[in-house]
Subunit: 221 residues, 2 copies
Amino acid sequence: MRTRAALTPELIIDAASRLAATAGADALTVRRLGKELGCDPTAIYRHFRDKDEIVLEVADRLVAATVEALPSDLAWRPRLEWLARQTVRTFVDYPAIAPIVALRTTRRPGEFRTVEAVLGALREAGLTDEQAAFQHLVYSETIFSYAAMSSAYAALDESSRQGDEAAWSHEYRALPPARYPNIAAAAEYLAEIDDDMVLDGIVQALLDRVESLASARGDVV
Amino acid sequence: MRTRAALTPELIIDAASRLAATAGADALTVRRLGKELGCDPTAIYRHFRDKDEIVLEVADRLVAATVEALPSDLAWRPRLEWLARQTVRTFVDYPAIAPIVALRTTRRPGEFRTVEAVLGALREAGLTDEQAAFQHLVYSETIFSYAAMSSAYAALDESSRQGDEAAWSHEYRALPPARYPNIAAAAEYLAEIDDDMVLDGIVQALLDRVESLASARGDVV
DNA sequence: GCGTCGTAGTCAACGGTGTTGACAACACAG
DNA sequence: CTGTGTTGTCAACACCGTTGACTACGACGC
């Protein structure tokens, strides 16, 4: 049974990436990985200590691909806007690894380069090194968490998602206005807001704050 | 075996809440729930269709308790700041249900009252109904995602968490400055930023934006 | 060329998860 | 007193990540 090419970390990560790209947050399992590679599932443990290590590797690959595609000819603000949108898109496309990327530090090249890029944009905006360090964390934790949540939401089964959307368009409108006056006033608008608009709103708030910090500093100097 | 009080949805949710309050994201399992109640795990399925329904119920109870504790004598801005902090705290205390609350609409009383409270604060700030609807989503999605991520992070095993903290204080400082000039400039500050500060930074950015929208509107009128 | 040795793959198994279907025991209505 | 329907029990299913024993292979020293 030596016809198949020998297993390598490279091959395993490739297969894991393919699985993670398929729908469903639980698409990436060791048993499926074995089937995809045409070997016994436990053979994988000869090359990786545990599943976590595989997921971190796939994660960093995605992060690296994202920052690599970052257009360098943009000003700092559209650059960070692009990065936020692309991050959410990548997370939604790879639901199996999204939660891991969001809360773990991979400590791998892709992450280093992303941190470097974000810090660069913030310093370009005119922040001090200390401000840049802080706003970097504010920006990336916010975007990462939001992307992870979007991803998890997109990976929900159809029925749960439909229920959630119906809530905004129907149930919230049907609440008694006497007890919920604010909802009554806002209900007609709530149903029309989609995810992209919310992300835009978040990014705008974060980057407005960066601009105001930068200009305040500019005034002092 | 009828000495034990008969099972009710109420009793089950109580037990589930107790389990969810213990450490670990996977503290709440059907089998443990059975043990806690002193009955066979599958008896629970006589009262709830599946585990998801239980988790949603526990989740809404927490949301309700949070909004109930909201001090009403605060101005709109400190009120939203309090709500954000308390939400994160609750999520961290109940790691088992945090991811669910963050991305699902529970469509239950606790959620309604929270939405009502946030919308009320935003309208008080001076936003139009449409702006309030939009900023409500921006605020709550951001806070919920961030809280869910904090919760998941807090529920990590000690070793992973230590690795992550060591990354900021050691590995990022050890990167070659030639290739990572921005990280080199910011490294000394990165290690000193803690989670509370980041949350403050996020909330500040969001609410500054609300204020600027409100004052822009005030100018026009 | 032969023996040895480490390693990569296989296999069975463990303990865990949510969930289902058959069965029994009870409370209650007629 | 006899159904009847609800409620708890039990065994089982199909998964999950992971471990330990076993085996077959390639490479190396002599």
